[in-house]
């Protein structure tokens, strides 16, 4: 047996290769995504791509919390929607430049996430989920009751896209696209880093076995609150960006169905995979767009696809691929 105190086991060659191999694959995928972002506005409608990017970022933020923190929030619309309102309101009524309005919306989402997260993490499992839902419903009713801020049923319309840093006019879809693509990429890289940070390691440990992590001396609640706030802030970033893209913030953004949609996107794409939520968002937004003529049937078709996904491949689209190539994606 090796002496515990003195042995310096050499790092296994095979092992180092696996780690680096995965990292290399991920880097290649990230570069591929960046390249796709450059090409996308020339092959698809920029507004459509921007919509996909906003929802993909939203789903990535949600997946950070559920897939890596093990915390199921049924109320993520609150952060997405509230950031959307704050961004729209300040851009329209205070005349903030878009980047400031987006940042302010994100900050408010982070603040809301801090308060709601602190309340919710006191409970576990389904109780946690119910508290997040209840708090999000409070935000919805608040939005409904304060039309002077939210515009009530009408929402905040005709939000000016403004000039980036007060210089660059974003009225043109193509111009705005580059800002949205940059925000998305920054969000994706941030989430990738969080997942692969020393902090991310402890989050995964708590997700896997909270009592064990606590017995090793980790104050689990502090980690859970932190990942909750990060997730809420990134969901807010997505919601605020969406308000600038569509020049609209409305009750739909804070309604519980929005919380449901992000769960769906994440599960269809692959819960707990880095890239799954992006695929899930592409699938769901594309479906909504091309099936829009079918009216209420869209919801039914979405439901059917969701059930089919869950029954056929529980790991989601990217989860199935990851299993096939035996590499985490």
């Amino acid at each position: 047996m090796t002496d515990l105190a003195t042995s310096e086991a050499p790092a296994g060659a095979a092992l180092a290769e696996t780690d680096d191999g995965t990292a290399r694959l991920h880097r290649a995928i990230l570069i591929g995504i960046a390249a796709a972002l450059v090409v996308a506005p020339f092959v698809a409608y920029p507004v459509f791509v921007m919509k996909v990017l906003c929802f993909a970022l939203f789903a990535l933020a949600f997946n950070l919390l559920l897939g890596y923190g093990g915390l199921l929030s049924f109320g993520h619309a609150a952060y997405f929607g509230m950031a959307s309102y704050v961004c729209a309101y300040t851009a329209k009524n205070w005349g903030l430049t878009p980047e400031l309005a987006i940042l302010l919306g994100t900050a408010v989402a982070a603040g809301l996430g801090t308060v709601f997260g602190a309340l919710a993490i006191r409970r576990q499992g389904i109780y946690f989920a119910m508290i997040t839902l209840a708090l999000a419903q409070m935000v919805f009713f608040f939005s409904l009751q304060t039309p002077r801020f939210t515009g009530g049923e009408d929402g905040i319309q005709a939000v000016p896209r403004g000039k980036l840093l007060g210089l660059l006019d974003l009225t043109d879809d193509r111009a705005l696209y580059w800002l949205v693509a940059a925000i998305f990429m920054a969000g994706l890289l941030a989430i990738y880093r969080i997942i692969h940070s020393p902090f991310g390691q402890i989050c995964k440990a708590i997700r896997d076995n909270e009592p064990r992590a606590i017995s090793l001396g980790y104050r689990a609640n502090q980690y859970k609150l932190m990942v909750f706030v990060l997730s809420a802030a990134l969901a807010g970033l997505a919601g605020a960006t969406k308000a600038i893209v569509f020049q609209l913030a409305s009750l739909t953004d804070v309604y519980w169905t929005m919380s449901g949609e992000v769960v769906l996107m994440t599960l269809v794409g692959g819960l707990g995979t880095v890239f799954g939520p992006i695929v899930g968002a592409i699938v769901m937004v594309t479906m909504q767009n091309y099936l829009a003529t079918l009216g209420a049937w869209v919801t039914v078709i979405q439901g059917v696809i969701f059930v089919a996904c869950v029954l056929l491949f529980r790991e989601g689209i990217v989860g199935v691929i990851a299993k096939a190539i035996k590499k985490p994606l």
Binding site: R193, P198, I202, K204, D208, L216
Partner: protein, 255 residues
């Protein structure tokens, strides 16, 4: 003779809806000893561990560790004081690799790991130590496997490696060798003896030959109460102990 007591309890009691799982236990664990807690199934051994590590709040009684009353501390703080436990139901991080499981514990050396903006490459400096611990419990061939895929006995071995990674002053091991084969039992027994040099160990163990050869002192628990205490020779001759074991059919090993 003045004894150096690292952990002691006074009147420790835990009731579950009126049922007394642990009843007035006065336990004294000497610094540097290997102390066994034995008794038939349902005697309250695991509940005791849960009380000592604050995973359960005692109904009555006090716990003193290193001269400090820890009766009201939180479980994570107990670990930070150097009192670290393993679990009876093997507790690993199933989706993380064997090596990463151990590294999670080693990360505690950095203090809190709230740095979400840094790369996990920083943790590579802990890899050599993690691999040495994995080696020490005989899991090197499995180090890249997800911990969830290990057999029961190997999960126990991994849990011991993870617990040792914290370099705790005192270890609480709940049936560390349950589900292990002869060879693994020998390995873990040797390991426990080796790491016991600079620490105190309190362990629950059903394998009485292991208890006999490893432990300095034995406390026998039955129906939540201390039935007998002493060294192996004394305790194993105690008629009440023999009766408790035979009477409940809970005994294991060569009794």
């Amino acid at each position: 003779m003045a004894e150096d007591i690292i952990l002691s309890t006074a009147g420790l009691t835990k009731e579950f809806a009126g049922f007394r799982a642990v009843s007035g236990v006065d336990l004294k664990v000497r610094r540097g000893s290997i102390h066994a807690l034995i008794g038939p199934n349902g005697a309250g051994k695991t509940t005791c561990f849960n009380l000592l590590t604050k995973f359960l709040a005692p109904t009555r009684g006090t716990i003193v560790y290193n001269g400090r009353d820890i009766t009201r501390e939180k479980p994570a703080e107990i670990a930070r004081l150097g009192l670290v436990r393993s679990f009876q139901i093997s507790a690993v991080f199933p989706q993380l690799s064997v090596k990463t499981n151990v590294r999670i514990a080693l990360q505690r050396k950095r203090g809190d790991s709230f740095d979400f903006w840094r790369s996990e490459r920083r943790l590579k400096s802990l890899d050599a130590e993690a691999e040495a611990l994995v080696e020490a419990v005989g899991l090197t061939p499995f180090r890249e496997l997800s911990a969830g895929e290990l057999s029961y006995g190997r999960k126990r071995a991994l849990e011991i490696a993870t617990t040792l990674a914290l370099d705790p002053e005192m270890l609480l091991l709940d049936e560390p060798m349950a589900g292990m084969g002869r060879e693994d039992i020998d390995r873990i027994e040797t390991l426990i003896r080796k790491v016991s040099a600079q620490r105190t160990i309190l362990m629950v163990e059903h394998n009485l030959s292991v208890v006999a050869s490893l432990c300095d002192r034995i406390t026998v628990l039955a129906r939540g109460q201390v039935l007998a205490e002493g060294d192996y020779a004394g305790v194993s001759k105690d008629p009440r102990v023999v009766e408790a074991y035979i009477g409940s059919g809970g005994g294991h090993g060569h009794h």
